[in-house]
């Protein structure tokens, strides 16, 4: 029989993220570190040597991490990866974050849970764009412990003056971000200087080696002693018991404790802590996924916080937040999202862009929009009062995330606090209506919605829009048409036909359509809107209830009809930039409805359009959707 004792409980591994500009040596550093600390499985080193040989290189440490074929072929790390390693008795997990700018979201994915970061800087090149970007992210995701590794000092001949000059620049940069680096380690990852063993080439350096600096990273502080936050994840009904489940984000619970539930503030007592195949519990602490029953048997919703009456979260319907924006398109005021906070989800609108960070020097400036993958401070208007705690590094407080209509994460939002109402050019205050969407729909007998018709000039958009309008109105539908020419005669009379003006035209049409649709109307928009980007902008502004309808008429037919004589004029060179003649039309790839007009009467087509709109705005359609 076995005489081997069961291993003692271990501490969880400390996650360390490695960040820095591309080619500053992150992967080499990790490969070298694993080799020096003897952390490689057998066969792995042989694999690297084999791979390096195949490519005619001497041993390339970074191949360890660049394990995907595509990465090796391109010479960049595509995604973050995690590698366990051990220093003495302590377990670490190295999170490798890629340096390529377009892979920002992978870096965040890897870095968000890290306890500490190693910022790798090529001592010769100094801070580069991604050095600044990554440092900014370290601040926004709340990593407090930053080790700066000044890499490639062999190229500076290990010269103290040059290395310290480079350090001063980095110190100044981090200072701007309120990051106080724990230590600077001058090193050469490739040569192994000051990695796991002290370099004899820099006798002037008295600080720790990289492994010594890692070993000194403090263990995560316990969140168990903070006031309770238990976000409800789900409510189950097994047998006859109603069971509330969730993970304790901070604090602790004990059977008998009184808790307040969510924004409505009902009170209940923790009656039991339920479990399976675990010793019966009367208490649980932060980090544990628990199941509890409540007395009285109130039914919380997913997203409700359970918290102590003595330490309630903040409560607001306007919130100021920092933002790291992950989309490749800019963010503008008026766009709507869901804000996820722990297990809650709230409808929010960007009410103001308070400032945007300029990446060249990390200073904050007023701006109209947040650039693609930019950093900013914004104000969010929430559709209802919500509970939250302000972001605190090292806890899960205030970790807001913005998701779009497709449940895709588009940004991280460390919540700062309740937004003050300030007057100013950029400060707007959308008010939430007390009349709900459902109330309006009930009163009107149908739901609101936007039906965005796109197609070539002369395709028949306006004719069909008016035809459908008449049909719908006669059935009692509250319907209106926003037509390109009508808009240009009034609201958009200041706009010409440049690309910027066309886009602005689309933006205004979409903004008006949204207001009307929110008031419960059915809005038919007839606008050439020739590019996919135009329609995407409209879709984003309108949000839920946007339908794209493609009036698919062959150009020859449009030109033959030419109701306004525009094709003739364009052919004669009297109009420039005419869609279909000398400006492109990008047909929708997957419209919600495609209407081919060439072989049907306009009456028939208008009837089809009216039927589609009728179906999409049906009342019971709304119920069906809410349930799904």
């Amino acid at each position: 029989m076995s005489t081997i004792p069961t291993p003692a409980p271990q501490d969880a591994a400390t996650p360390i993220v490695i960040v820095g500009h591309v080619d500053h040596g992150k992967s080499t550093l990790i490969g070298r570190l694993l080799y020096d600390t003897d952390s490689l499985p057998e066969g792995r080193v042989a694999q690297i040597i084999e791979s390096s040989k195949k490519r005619g290189l001497t041993v390339e440490w970074s191949f360890l991490l660049d394990s995907l074929q595509i990465e090796r072929d391109q010479g960049v790390t595509v995604d973050s990866t995690r590698i366990p390693f051990r220093l003495g008795t302590r377990q670490f997990v190295i999170v490798d974050a890629p340096g390529h700018r377009q892979f920002l979201r992978n870096m965040i994915t890897g870095a968000a849970d890290a306890e500490a970061a190693v910022l790798v800087v090529d001592a010769n090149e100094g801070a580069q764009e991604q050095t600044r970007r990554h440092a900014m992210l370290l601040r926004l995701i709340g990593i407090r412990h930053v080790i700066v590794l000044m890499n490639k000092v062999d190229i500076l001949d290990y010269d103290q003056k040059k290395i310290e000059a480079a350090e001063r620049d980095i110190t100044a940069l981090l200072h701007q971000l309120e990051i106080e680096p724990t230590v600077f380690v001058p090193a050469s990852a490739r040569e192994g200087d000051n990695m796991a063993s002290r370099s004899d080439k820099m006798p002037w350096y008295k600080g720790p080696t990289l492994t010594e600096a890692l070993a000194a990273v403090p263990a995560p502080s316990s969140r168990a002693d903070l006031p309770l936050r238990l976000p409800v994840q789900d409510v189950y009904r097994f047998d006859t018991k109603r069971i509330v489940v969730g993970r304790i984000e901070r604090g602790r619970i004990r059977v008998g404790d009184e808790v307040v539930i969510g924004v409505h503030g009902a009170r209940a007592r923790i009656a039991t802590i339920e479990s399976w195949h675990t010793a019966p519990q009367v208490a649980a602490i932060a980090g544990q996924s628990v199941a509890v029953t409540l007395e009285p048997d109130v039914i919380p919703d997913r997203g409700d916080f359970l918290y102590p009456a003595s330490a309630a979260p903040l409560r607001a319907a306007r919130i100021r937040t920092r933002l790291f924006w992950l989309r490749q398109e800019p963010l503008r005021v008026g766009e709507s999202f869901k804000l996820r906070l722990a297990t809650a989800e709230h409808q929010v609108t960007v009410a103001a862009i308070d400032s945007v960070v300029r990446l060249e020097d990390l200073t904050e400036h007023p701006a109209e929009e947040v650039p693609p993958e930019g950093f900013a401070e914004i104000t969010l208007a929430v559709s209802e009062t919500m509970l939250f705690d302000a972001f605190v590094p090292g806890t899960s407080d205030g970790r807001g995330v913005l998701v779009d209509r497709n449940q895709q994460i588009v940004g991280g939002a460390p919540l700062i606090g309740v937004a003050e109402s300030v007057a100013g050019r950029n400060a707007i205050h959308p008010t939430g209506s007390a009349v709900s969407v459902w109330d309006r729909a009930q009163a009107k007998g149908h739901r609101g919605g936007v039906f965005w018709m796109t197609g070539l000039p002369g395709a028949g958009k306006s004719t069909l829009a008016r035809g459908a309008e008449t049909r719908l109105f006669s059935r009692g539908v509250d319907v209106s048409v926003l037509d390109g020419d009508t808009l240009r005669a009034g609201l958009c009379s200041d706009l010409g036909f440049s690309e910027a003006d066309r886009r602005e035209n689309v933006r205004r049409a979409a903004a008006v359509a949204r207001i009307l649709a929110e008031s419960g109307q059915v809005v038919i928009v007839a606008l050439i809107s020739p590019t996919i980007a135009d329609r995407e902008l409209a879709r984003q502004i309108v949000g839920e209830g946007f339908h794209e309808i493609f009036i698919d008429t062959p150009q020859a037919t449009c030109e033959q009809r030419d109701p306004k004589g525009l094709y003739a004029a364009a052919r004669a060179g009297k109009i420039e930039g005419f869609t279909g003649i000398d400006a492109p039309y990008e047909a929708p790839v997957k419209p919600d409805l495609r209407l081919e007009t060439a072989h049907a009467s306009s009456d028939e087509t208008a009837a089809r359009l009216a039927a589609f709109i009728g179906e999409e705005t049906r009342l019971d359609g709304a119920t069906r959707r809410q349930k799904s």
């Binding site: 069961t6 409980p9 066969g43 366990p84 993970r247 399976w276 195949h277 544990q288 996924s289």
Partner: protein, 264 residues
């Protein structure tokens, strides 16, 4: 909380998210040690119940001990068991190396089950430390049309917020064991007393460290006959867990090609 408590709590959180957000949902049960741990965690998350079906995609080439284990525990644990079979190897991409081609049968069988049951979520017991390509995975990993894994275009995933797209033809692979290591699995098995197929324990100086199809899995040299002995052995071992899995080693990119196509 020690490290196993933390891993357990995180996995339970993930399973509860999947159950809440993805319907219909099913869990893959390969009958191996990892999927037994995963099933155990599901019973912890749902207080003794497994509120979704478990699926065994059967290549028809598993060890007899594994089939016996399946039949015994699916009854004992009151599981709703869905069985699916795999197409013959002749139907599989002939450009794959032989073992990978054989393994790809399971991908095709799984795809057919996902389509048949119109699954929005599939829970799978892969771990980052098993294989370099798996290290790149997300906890919630969306699969597009044709079940393809778009490794170069994965969603951001941080602060415990997961992508849960609801588009026709898409499903999400959920990976509650992603952060576990091989030794954590064994320590948890020891702590909880989770039953296993006895192929994992040494007989005549050999045991299986990882279980796949009979013809493409080989045992490793070992004298470990108990869970505790396996743990002790792993603490000094330097070879990789999947060393006995032929398809991982046929060519540099064979395993990645398998995974992009939907292999686990």
């Amino acid at each position: 909380m020690d490290d196993l408590d933390q891993l357990e709590a995180q996995s339970i959180f993930i399973l509860r998210e999947a159950y809440r957000k993805l319907k219909p949902l099913a869990m893959l049960w390969s009958l191996g040690k990892d999927s037994n741990v995963m099933l155990w965690l599901a019973r912890k998350a749902f207080l003794g119940n497994v509120p979704f079906p478990v699926m065994h995609v059967d290549t028809g080439k598993k060890f007899p001990e594994m089939y016996r284990f399946r039949d015994e525990y699916s009854k004992k644990w009151n599981l709703e068991l869905l069985l699916g079979d795999c197409p013959p190897v002749e139907d599989i991409d002939p450009t794959l190396p032989p073992a990978a081609r054989s393994a790809a049968r399971k991908t095709a069988g799984l795809a057919a089950m996902i389509d048949k049951y119109k699954l929005a979520g599939v829970i799978a017991g892969i771990r980052r430390d098993e294989q370099a390509t798996r290290a790149k995975e997300r906890v919630f990993s969306p699969r597009g049309a044709g079940h393809k894994w778009d490794v170069r275009n994965q969603p951001p995933e941080f602060w415990d917020q997961y992508a849960t797209p609801h588009e026709p033809g898409m499903h999400v692979r959920v990976h509650p064991l992603l952060s576990w290591r091989e030794i954590d699995i064994w320590r948890y098995i020891e702590r909880e007393g989770i039953p296993l197929v006895d192929l994992y324990f040494a007989k005549d100086g050999k045991r299986y460290r990882s279980l796949g199809d009979q013809d493409i899995t080989s045992p490793v040299e070992s004298n470990a006959t108990t869970v505790a002995e396996v743990i002790a052995e792993l603490e000094t071992s330097r070879t990789s867990e999947r060393a006995g899995r032929a398809m991982d080693h046929e060519s540099e990119d064979a395993f990645e090609r398998l995974r992009v196509a939907g292999y686990l």
